[in-house]
Symmetry: D2
């Protein structure tokens, strides 16, 4: 019913409008990111959501109470056949399942947007270390940090949707590195804080409410695979080597990442020069909001696809960058739909604004 009303109001010429709808499927629809995908795609005017699948769905289709009225479909068991009949497939699956499914789908002519980590690292050695399940990367694979990918996403066959920590971090860091604003060899320290939804929906002692409420801790020091993804992003922005330290923390909130980045600027770099670089880099980026010295807060981006970036520079050339996103939207499903929009050639903000 909702669909009817919206399509009426949005599409002045129904006959051709209906024909143009892109057939989209979601594999892994019951996790946190899968449900966000359903929410976004169900209101996307250019797509027809033909299937929402769960590898864990039993005979009795799962109910998703929060999506009642917004989406009238049912969760069905994972069916590669159905996936092959789609124009675009979103994979919100564990790494191993995505590593196996994606190449076959691309071979079958389906475009894939993969939210797992299986295809994010391009250097074979790094990929083998962190994602050993990935045996083959299809042609046409693109790392889909939308704002930094140039036009590559538009023609991609497979989009490796970035991790949440790398998204927040690289959007603040990469423009400065690309513009040569980092002091040569400067250490880069990334202290990141994430809400609990980033840990996924599977219950564990670590995600128990009573373990997190009123607490906080660091984890994955010197050994988080998102560190490798961030290093890849820095190397793509500058050939100057920069030792990078990445420490994620789990904080007692549901949605949101805040990344605080510490570095030294090239001698003579002013706060104005830094601001100018950001403004140029993101002049055409609707989802990047530059807040400068007022510093961003998670509450302003929660439940949105925005990334807010702020910064402070001191007289001795030290800089502190702060970047915030909603980890389930700009850090996962929102960016995935943003990439879909780029692939379809529609307004980047469709279904996200």
């Amino acid at each position: 019913m909702h669909t009817v009303v919206e399509s009426e109001s949005r599409s002045p010429s129904p006959p051709s409008g209906a024909a143009a709808l892109t057939r989209v499927a979601v594999a892994g629809a019951t996790g946190f990111t899968g449900q966000e995908l359903l929410r976004l795609l169900s209101r996307h005017p250019s797509v027809q959501l033909i299937a929402a699948m769960s590898s864990g769905a039993t005979a009795a289709a799962r109910k998703l109470p929060g999506l009642a009225r917004l989406w009238s479909g049912e969760i069905t068991p994972l069916s590669p056949d159905t996936l092959r009949q789609s124009d675009v497939v979103f994979l919100a699956l564990p790494d191993a399942a995505a590593a196996e499914l994606a190449p076959a789908l691309v071979d079958a002519g389906v475009r894939v947007i993969d939210l797992s980590g299986a295809f994010r690292l391009t250097a074979p050695a790094e990929r083998a270390r962190w994602y050993p399940e990935t045996r083959r990367v299809p042609d046409g694979a693109v790392y889909g940090l939308t704002e930094l990918a140039g036009g590559a996403v538009a023609g991609a066959r497979l989009v490796a949707n970035p991790g949440c920590y790398p998204t927040a971090t690289l959007l603040a860091l990469a423009p400065l590195a690309s513009a040569g604003l980092l002091a040569p060899g400067s250490d880069i320290i990334i202290d990141a804080k994430s809400g609990v939804s980033g840990a996924g929906k599977t219950p564990s002692e670590r995600t128990h409410f009573s373990e997190i409420h009123g607490s906080m801790g660091a984890y994955g020091v010197f050994g988080h695979r998102h560190g490798a993804e961030i290093e890849q992003g820095i190397a793509a922005a500058t050939s100057d080597p920069h030792p990078m330290t990445f420490v994620p923390h789990l904080v007692p909130l549901d949605r949101g990442i805040l990344s605080t980045i510490y570095l030294r600027l090239a001698p003579g770099t002013t706060e104005d020069a830094l601001a100018a670089v950001y403004q140029q880099a993101y002049a055409a980026a609707p989802f990047i909001r530059l807040v400068g010295s007022s510093l961003p807060e998670i509450k302003h981006v929660a439940h949105t696809n925005f990334c807010d970036v702020g910064w402070r520079v001191d007289a001795s050339g030290r800089a502190v960058l702060v970047s915030v996103i909603d980890n389930l939207l700009k850090g996962a499903s929102g960016q995935a739909v943003q990439n879909l929009n780029v692939m379809l050639g529609v307004d980047e903000r469709t279904a996200l604004w």
Copy 2:
């Protein structure tokens, strides 16, 4: 920029589309409900937001970081002149300010949607007790609990937008009372739990994070003005008198109300009969979701305009009703926009879905 793109995609005939826009202003735009109004109205295709005012705005216009890019306007000082040039004015002001402003605006031909309590109680004695600042109620004033108001909102000159507790409570309770399903004279116990945003944005000891985190308490026992509003709603639904006890509680979450209602059913009333009454009452109500015995949870309605209603009945005729809303949306600004939609004759879901 955003507006241009959306209006392009939504309105096939721009010249006449622009002419038809309703001129809307918000008075009290920096509080929690005011900011939600801006967020909703900035994406509403039928309105032009001509002013967003704050009685506390100083010379330097306030920034609203969360609304950057979504709304490009500025908060300006309260100006009755500008309000009089609007087609519709939303008042998100303290009771006293609304009580004074609203009648004058209605006299000037402006339609008013008032989110304060000033005009909610229709019995003069009750209004004088709880809202002594209200000296005059303009003609054409309607209590705007949308789903229960019948068609009255469509032609209203002033809509008294309901309180958050009465909205959650009456949407569950009124259909049963109207249908004669309550046992004659049955006590009605309403134990309601609200997130902290319901207490408003003004800092106080009571809303300090450290007072509420990890805590909970009852307040306003036998003396909350929303109790009078609920009693008015019950009396509108049934002439049978029912002693009503209403106890609100403050719980450590930001957005959301859960109302648990205890009553006795007329002898012989089955759970099926109860379900049938609800289904009939809300057959055409897009924002009411009936979840029955699975019972609703706040997380499924947070950040939406939905009201989810569940219930359980036991063999001896006792019923427990549970109703949840987002207090800032269905409990305030969302319902206000829903009422605007009814007044404008557009789809009730516009800007809310």
Copy 3:
């Protein structure tokens, strides 16, 4: 006052003091209540903690980082032999395990304080319904709601430590019922709200941080076994039958229960009469704090063994009682140690103040 009592109870006769220590063991030491028991018993001057066991402990003893320095022992696998060598055993185990272990321990001359539900219900039919694993109740079993048990706990062989909801609820309700202050046949509505630690430490979808943060819901309507325990407590206080409705809710905090109780008072009962009944009932109860019309809040009892009780009465004889406890202390491990103190004849506050 406190200082005097403690120093008296701790060092009456230093030389022989060591010889007089009671040998205590905890079975089920790694759950939330088990860890609280260790914390309390490790500082109890009258006991020697000889073993802390976990049915899930593997070969490598578990670390409990929060207890480092406070308790130097190790968690060991469950050993019935070692338990039989104790003077007093605390069982913080699942119902079935407790139902099996407790009678054998009592037979062996060990006094047992059981935190499970296995022995709480005294009517065989009710016990068979809610705790079917319980096949035999040893002689000398006592329901250990300390303040209401009279002297029975002192000589008990087995103390059935009450449930968290019944503790909070009955401490507010029972004195009024015992004193005949309830209107004949008055409905009793109990709307209870609990923090998440009450759901236990085992991870589940229901206790996932992201499911609870920012949310709230009712559960177990008309079917929670604590309802049977509350009914038993009411029946023990008054022979007048009172229909009782109990609805628990899960709220987004870690520790604490708030129980709101609705009832009608016998005609003519004043607020003063009600206060007098409470004051008499709890004149010698160090852990009950009567706050009257100021109403209690969870934050004042969190991390303590206190139960704060408040109330409001209206002119028509309706009463609202509000009671708060820390569910892991007065609602579980704190009350268990309080019962131990009564059994040992030491100051009731030892290790709890």
Copy 4:
């Protein structure tokens, strides 16, 4: 062990014990740290709490519901005369009030433990910059980071109780700096996260529940006075200059600080060498728990006076140190009582274990 120590310290000579009690007063008793002081001092066997004063106390003495039964006193208006009759005075007042009161009290022979920042910075220029209200520092003033102060606290006339961030940070950082384990000139990056109680009890927009719940942000970048205090602590530990960057963040929890510290180690420093330095530094420190590579979490120190310190070192000589405290206890009132114990010559853990 604990039991033995406490009973020794509590009743060395019962008859004269009462005569030996130290007369203690608290000025600023209604703030978060003031209430913690009352809680701790009310159970301290060596002190008599003769007055608890509030500069804001009105004629009607304030009630502190959480302390009912634990402390039977009343909050009274600030009275310098009464303070002068004390042996030891705790000042939990704003900086300006402490700056004025403390010297006069010391002149009068009263020992002062000051929880404000007024006397923390010893370099006149730094003190003048950050605490301009401090016009005179009395003789015998000591910076009271207990574990690092050597024996200086024992004879102090005025103890400047450290800030919460410096306490957490310097306890992790100073031993390494003192032992020469930092690479010469290594940058030191301190990314600290604090619960909201650290912002004090005065309501403000910044401490409103709805501003913080579900959010997080950095503040005070390059301009927090605790940064100067940390730099002073580093300079006391090593003469080698180290550029220091300190960025605090406000996180959605009530109590607790987590400080993550990034630095480079002197070439060849192993993780074992680092651990050995810590073990030696804190061999006699009951409140420092070294957790090494398992990394500490706030929940293990909340409501205690512990500081848990963990660390990780990588092959290239980078180190990440993580330190956690309860900001109201080890970061304020707990450390203040610990300092009192040192001043009185009683067991350091008295009233804190």
